[in-house]
Symmetry: C2
Subunit: 137 residues, 2 copies
Amino acid sequence: MTPPRSTSARRRRSGCPIASTLEIVGDRWTLVILRDLLNGKATFSDFLASPERITTNVLTDRLAAMERDGLVVRVPYQERPVRHRYVLTGSGEALLPVLQAICRWGNTHVPDTWIPPEAFMRRTVPDPVPASDGRRR
Amino acid sequence: MTPPRSTSARRRRSGCPIASTLEIVGDRWTLVILRDLLNGKATFSDFLASPERITTNVLTDRLAAMERDGLVVRVPYQERPVRHRYVLTGSGEALLPVLQAICRWGNTHVPDTWIPPEAFMRRTVPDPVPASDGRRR
């Protein structure tokens, strides 16, 4: 697992944990790609095939940002041509409760939304290992 | 409380509750304004004063979208010149668990983020009243 890149290096707008997190995942495509990764999708063409029809240039851009922010790592699975699969890091996977909270709100407040599989809604992420500075990675 | 406007009227990309919700609150400024509203801020100048320094035109645009989507209502509190306060609807307030999940992730995975007041993290929203179609408003 790759530790997340510090976002302190960028000029953040504030130390608010909500505003700071949204600088990483505030783009709606990022959370849609995370949804796909949490549901077992892993390749560029997997993500392209999703019903929201992300465009290839937005997908390329979002995956690069997610890699830079330590949410995914790229694993080569084929040479000539090189192809990669994307694997969630611990911090990427730890966004599951955010997606579950969004799902609950959507199912309650947005008409005609699909009910997600119960397995997705009940899933939990393992507790992260505490780091020496008291924060968890 | 204003019932949320149906987003079915817009061309939604899919019925996925995550993707559909992000079409409403996938903009990071919307969630930052919601954070302020949940913390007692209510006026245009309150939101402008936040440390993230939203610009007036983005704020005007986001508040209009939030009103259209039924997350806030505008209440006049002064005439000549007319001034409004923004009040969260039930569906706007129901986004609290999404913001709490974002806070938890940010405090764990983004360095140097503020720890929110315990009262904010422990707060719960009242259960919405079931509507006749079985969905809740």
